[in-house]
């Protein structure tokens, strides 16, 4: 049990120019918290995790675990356990040996190792497989062994590097819930890396979004979704992605295909303070809706309908200024429009509009 802190930690890979894989990362993780690091590939999320594990050098700044500076401590001195994407099980050892290896290295009594392994195996439903080698296990079982190896150690921090990405979709959803429940039960501080924003939203107490080595925002999943700090976070979190378009700004609101969408005072104030003539206008697909043609709205030509069962996603083109922009609208699954149809689309709730600076991408209403 321990809290974790990144204190302006950077990892710089040599090259010309040098690459700042993780750039001045400041992040505090509370004791017992489940923090998810999420970002597109190359965002530095795995590097940040490996720095915490001691597998990657910290070139600037410091890393603390439980208040102790571990910046220059080798991995074995950090009291951490890591679950790798490839699981990294020891192929020449049985499941039981794999799980008990760390304890064996610490010189723990054999009987005690056996008990702890048996206990963890029971928790993960692995009791039947303790005598098998990893190659005789399925992907899901291997994943559980990797989890078991981490649990048996009773470390102060769990590190997980995309542990679910090698599982099939159904098993992934199942295991996702299991890991979250297990973490809840053990109450161990956990740092979890993923590129899947659904995993991030569903598992984390808080989610840290990284891009190009820079922390974009770290907040609860709800806040990330409702109040993204910038256009990148807005576009990254949520599936399907938010509609983000650069549109002209008037004194009443944002101008979309002849329709002026009224904006909140805070947002307008933010925009006028910078005297912008254009803004990046963001709206999630579920905040848009198809309205009868008599009402005011944007004209959209339906180009693609993705039926998901409960609802359907309608992709279509809307003219903004001189160009045609693509919008996604979430509609009721039973009555989707047909391809090529012209529909009217309107903003259902103006409070769900997000405005960002067209150049910096920062949120405008503070």
């Amino acid at each position: 049990m321990a809290e974790v802190a990144y204190d302006s930690a950077s990892r710089i890979f040599s090259g010309n120019p040098p690459v700042r894989a993780v750039d001045q990362l400041n992040l505090d993780v509370a004791d017992g918290e489940f923090l998810v690091l999420v970002g597109p590939s190359g965002s530095g999320k795995s590097t940040a995790l490996r720095m915490l594990a001691g597998l990657e050098d910290v070139d600037e700044g410091a890393i603390k675990i439980g208040g102790k500076d571990v910046t220059n401590v080798p991995p074995k001195g950090r009291d951490i356990a890591m679950v790798f994407q490839s699981y990294a099980l020891y192929p020449h050892m049985t499941v039981a040996d794999n799980m008990g290896f760390a304890l064996k290295l610490r010189g723990v009594d054999k009987g005690e190792i056996k008990n702890k392994v048996a206990e963890a195996a029971k928790m993960l439903d692995l009791t039947k497989y303790l005598d098998r080698k990893p190659k005789a296990l399925s992907g899901g079982q291997r994943q559980r062994v990797a989890m078991g190896r981490a649990i048996v150690r009773e470390p102060s921090v769990f590190l997980m590097d995309e542990p679910l990405s090698n599982l099939d979709a159904k098993l992934r959803v199942e295991t996702r819930a299991n890991i979250a429940a297990l973490q809840q039960r053990l109450g161990t501080t956990t740092i979890y890396v993923t590129h899947d924003q659904v995993e991030a939203m569903t598992m984390g107490h808080r989610v840290a979004v990284l891009k190009d080595g820079l922390l974009q925002q770290c907040d609860t999943p709800r806040n990330l979704y409702d109040r993204p700090a910038n256009a990148f976070v807005a576009g990254f979190m949520g599936s399907p992605a938010m509609n983000l378009k650069t549109v002209p700004l008037t004194s009443e609101g944002a101008k979309l295909d002849g329709v002026v969408v009224p904006l909140s005072r805070a947002a307008l104030g933010g925009a006028s303070g910078e005297s912008l003539s254009e803004v990046t206008f963001g709206i999630r697909p579920e905040a848009l809706g198809i309205v009868p043609s008599s009402e005011a709205g944007m004209d959209m030509t339906v180009e693609l309908v993705e039926e998901l069962g409960a609802d359907a996603l309608v992709h279509g083109a809307v003219r903004i200024g001189d160009s045609s922009e693509r919008f996604v609208v979430r509609v009721d699954g039973r009555t989707p429009p047909t391809l090529g149809q012209n529909v009217k689309v309107a903003v259902r709730d103006t409070s769900e509009i997000h405005l960002f600076h067209p150049e910096t991408g920062n949120r405008l209403d503070g």
Partner: protein, 302 residues
């Protein structure tokens, strides 16, 4: 959309195969006979020389080379008795020397090349590229060119004429090659395993000793086999660097006493050759179950 349209297509390949008389995984009787005849012929050609040495080893010298060779002609174990009893030279001493030199070479070469290859496979250090390149370049010199400079080096070190000197000489050829081979093998072991070991509490040497070496057993077996053979059958270096005294010869050098300018003792030579071949066969037998995986495992991860 239904899958009805595709079912005739699924049936088609089977029908086509039936029409031409071929199915995947089977061959016609004629092809089978041809193939087996060719394979059996090739096997016989490969085995015959060894077989004939074995046959000759039981014959007296006078019967070894005949115009109408017979399988058995006054065959007995006399040749073996004479060779092993040391009548023709201290055969058992040669044998001991060879075993000692080959085993020492194997041990040193495997140890050095395993540690070097691990460093080259896992760590970044200045001069890594040139080190690996120099290992490759060393392989390109013909042995004959090396004899004189190596002789001088051994003389300067005071190791000329000793077994240890010869072991070091063999290592100069075995270590670079084995390092290359093992580096390739270590590269196929995922680095994640090293990292998992380090997180679990192993020191860098612990990772090498407890995780990488056990996983590299097939590669180590191949390397050991190569190093053993390098030393076991080598003649040129052994005759140049060992002292001329009869009891300090290795087997490969000692065998020359049976082949003299005017006379060749075929029976004794053959008997000695068979005895010489036995340890190599034993080593091969011990490592052979690793050899197949070892030689192929570089290709695919697994």
């Amino acid at each position: 959309m239904t899958f009805d349209a595709s079912s005739p297509r699924v049936a088609n390949p089977a029908a086509a195969a039936r029409a031409t008389g071929f199915r995947r995984g089977t061959r016609s009787t004629a092809a089978s006979i041809g193939l087996h005849t060719a394979l059996i012929t090739a096997s016989l050609i490969a085995v015959f020389p060894v077989f004939w040495v074995l046959v000759t080893s039981f014959k007296p010298d006078a019967r070894a080379v005949e115009t109408t060779p017979k399988l058995f002609n006054e065959s007995s174990l006399d040749n073996y008795v004479r060779v092993l009893s040391g009548e023709k030279g201290d055969f058992l001493a040669w044998f001991g020397n060879s075993v000692l030199i080959a085993l020492l070479t194997t041990a040193i070469a495997v140890f050095l090349s395993a540690t070097t290859a691990y460093a080259a496979s896992r760590f970044l250090f200045p001069g890594k590229r040139s080190l690996m390149l120099s290992f490759l370049v060393v392989q390109m010199f013909p042995f004959a060119v090396l004899i004189v400079p190596l002789y001088n080096v051994l003389l300067a070190l005071g190791l000329q004429g000793t077994s240890l000197g010869l072991v070091l000489v063999y290592c100069t050829t075995a270590v670079p090659f084995c390092t290359y081979m093992l580096k390739g093998y270590f590269d196929t072991i995922p680095q994640d395993i090293d990292e998992a070991g380090r997180v679990d509490g192993l020191s860098p040497f612990g990772v090498f000793w407890r995780l990488v070496l056990p996983l590299a057993r097939p590669g180590l077996a191949v390397t050991a086999f190569y190093a053993f053979l390098t030393a076991w059958g080598e003649v040129a270096f052994a005759s140049a660097f060992l002292s001329a005294a009869d009891e300090s010869k290795t087997l490969a050098v000692g065998l020359q006493v049976f082949v003299q300018q005017n006379r060749t003792e075929w029976g004794h030579l053959a008997a000695a050759s068979i005895v010489v071949a036995i340890p190599a066969v034993v080593v091969f037998y011990l490592v052979q179950r690793f050899l197949v995986t070892g030689l192929s495992s570089g290709a695919v991860k697994g």
